[in-house]
Structures are given as structure tokens and as C-alpha cells.
């Protein structure tokens, strides 16, 4: 079982709400910026994610989502 946190960095506006709502401190703001000039979140501690979906739910820009995958599911 793997947890995949997908971040579309070109959509992100670096508001940091996803980072603020995450209780497990999975995400942090990257030092890098996307082409709009916003810092975007990156996954720091993937393994501590609870798949609660809070970060996905609060993102106003539809830039982050979480999913769970079986290890062998990918063809």
C-alpha cells in the first residue's frame, strides 16, 4: 500500500492552507517557485500521512489530492 500525494505545482498559489491544516506535518513549502512565482508545497513525510483528505478538501485551487494505491496495482 502506498500513499500518493499529488501536487500540481503549476496550479498552486502557495497559500499554505494545506500545510496549516495537516496535523501530521506531512507537507512543507518548497524553497522553489513555480512559473507564476508562488512557492508550492512538497511532501516531506509521506509515510505519516493519514489520508484524512483535509489538505485536498481545503485547497482553493484544486492543486493537491491524496490517494491510496496497492503496490502491484500499476500495470
Amino acid at each position: 500500500m502506498t500513499i500518493r500525494i499529488e501536487i500540481l505545482k503549476e496550479r498552486c498559489k502557495g497559500c499554505g492552507i494545506c500545510i496549516a491544516v495537516c496535523q501530521m506535518e506531512v507537507l512543507r513549502l518548497s524553497g522553489d517557485t513555480n512559473e507564476q512565482g508562488y512557492a508550492y508545497p512538497v511532501v516531506e513525510k509521506n509515510e505519516s500521512c493519514l489520508i484524512c483528505g483535509l489538505c485536498e478538501m481545503v485547497c482553493p485551487d484544486f492543486a493537491i489530492w491524496v490517494r491510496q494505491e496497492e503496490e502491484e496495482a500499476m500495470p
Partner: protein, 261 residues
């Protein structure tokens, strides 16, 4: 790899709308997100909806959704939604209103609902601001705070106003409680009459002008720290003023389901 890089809500959104026009961290985006989640979780056919929005920042809501959606002129949102609902009785009509659509130019439309029992879900995004002219007061400008510089009067009590036009479902949430907005919408979709959901989503521009808060996440937490959830609290106690907790929750529900908080 690329095949997976679609947001779960991708089918509902125009891809070329991104990045959105809203300011970084504006609650409007979260409200749209919650709306889509609620739509997916309830058994509404996406074709059988009508999304209506008016002027200003919330206008863009109807432009980003791949649903039957309409941007109408300032203040005609409720009027249009009612007529659309009468013409399409099976459709779930959802009106996204901002301050001006709801209380300024749109106020008389809203008051015309007067217990008519139209099936309509109103999402009122209250950002405490009416800011085109800068210094005019507005029904929701906070007491002694600024549209730019100070309202001498207390803001409206929206849940009380909504109940006086006969809303069957009234709730109030903040964008940080996106899950509750989704729940509230799903409950509102069950109703046969009007549902009003107020979202306290203060405008970032206003906040940065008054230099109280620095960024979106801090602002969200600032407001969330000042809220308290009290379901079914008396409607006349729900006004918003400085130094008083903002009461969140479901205030009126004509037919409460089993899963009541």
C-alpha cells in the same frame, strides 16, 4: 504517469480556468471545491443542476464549472435562480452570492422569496466587504471596521434574515471547515424549499489593508480561532461583532436527518 495527473474533480472544471483568478487562499475556491464534493456525494445528475452567480469575485464560480451555469447581472441572482428553478423543476439550483448580490442590489430579490418555498440553495459568501468605492459602508461591514474606514452600524444578522423569508435550512461555516460545508450542502440538497448557507470567508485584500494578518493560512486560523460551533442556537444571537465569538453550525433544519451533530 501523466494519465494520473488529474484532480478527482477534473470532470467538473474547465482546465483552462487554472490557475484560478482568485487571490491565493481565497475561500471562494474552497467553497467551489466543497460544492463539487457535495455534488459527487449526493445523487444529483450534474446535468440537472443550475449554478448561478452574480458580480464580483464570485462571478467566476459559474465560469469555472462544467455545469449548466449562468453569470447574471448584479443583483439578479436570486430572481434568475427562482425563474430557472420554475422552468426546470427537476434541477437543483444553486446560487452563489456575494455581499452585493445578496444584500445590496439583490436584497429586494431575496426578500421577494418571502415564504414562497422555492427550491433553491443559496450559498452566501460573506467576505465582510463591499469595496468598489472604498469608503462606503455596507450592510455587512464590521462594526467600527473598514470597508476602508469604518462602519458606524452593526452588520446584518444573516441567519435571522434568512429565517424571516422562510428558509428551511440555515447554516453558517468557514472555509477551513470545508467538510462541514459539504455536509451542509448535501443536507440543503434534500430540502424542498429554500436553503441558505452563509460562509464567513473574509477577503484577503481587506485583511492586508488593515495589516492585521499576513497570509491566507494565518487568516484562516485567525478566524477559525474566533469561531464556536453551536448547532441550533437562537437566531437572534447570531450577529457578528468584534469581541464576540462567531457562531457556526446548523441553525434551522426543517427535517433533521439521523446524523445530527
Amino acid at each position: 504517469m501523466n494519465r494520473d495527473r488529474f484532480h478527482p474533480d477534473h470532470p467538473f472544471l474547465y482546465a483552462d480556468f487554472f490557475p484560478t483568478v482568485w487571490c491565493a487562499g481565497c475561500g471562494i475556491g474552497t467553497v467551489v471545491h466543497s460544492f463539487i464534493e457535495a455534488l459527487k456525494a449526493s445523487d444529483i445528475t450534474p446535468r440537472e443542476t443550475g449554478v448561478v452567480s452574480g458580480m464580483g469575485c464570485s462571478r467566476k464560480i459559474s465560469e469555472c464549472l462544467k455545469l449548466p451555469s449562468f453569470s447574471v447581472s448584479d443583483g439578479r441572482v436570486v430572481d434568475f435562480s427562482v425563474q430557472y428553478g420554475l422552468e426546470h423543476p427537476t434541477h437543483q439550483v444553486v446560487a452563489f452570492l456575494n455581499n452585493a448580490d445578496f444584500l445590496l442590489t439583490g436584497a429586494e430579490d431575496f426578500l421577494q422569496l418571502r415564504n414562497s418555498g422555492h427550491r433553491l440553495t443559496i450559498i452566501y459568501i460573506n467576505n465582510f466587504i463591499f469595496n468598489t468605492a472604498g469608503d462606503d459602508g455596507f450592510p455587512m461591514t464590521p462594526y467600527r471596521r473598514k470597508s476602508f474606514d469604518g462602519s458606524a452600524d452593526l452588520p446584518f444578522n444573516i441567519p435571522l434574515l434568512a429565517s424571516s423569508v422562510g428558509a428551511e435550512y440555515i447554516a453558517r461555516w468557514t472555509p477551513l471547515r470545508a467538510g462541514w460545508i459539504k455536509n451542509a450542502l448535501m443536507e440543503a440538497f434534500q430540502k424542498k424549499g429554500t436553503a441558505v448557507i452563509e460562509i464567513i470567508s473574509p477577503c484577503l485584500v481587506y485583511d492586508s489593508e488593515s495589516r492585521r494578518i499576513l497570509d491566507a493560512a494565518e487568516r484562516m486560523q485567525f478566524y477559525d480561532g474566533r469561531t464556536v460551533i453551536q448547532n441550533f442556537s437562537p437566531l437572534n444571537k447570531l450577529d457578528l461583532r468584534e469581541g464576540k465569538k462567531i457562531v457556526l453550525g446548523t441553525f434551522v433544519d426543517s427535517a433533521p436527518g439521523e446524523d445530527k451533530r
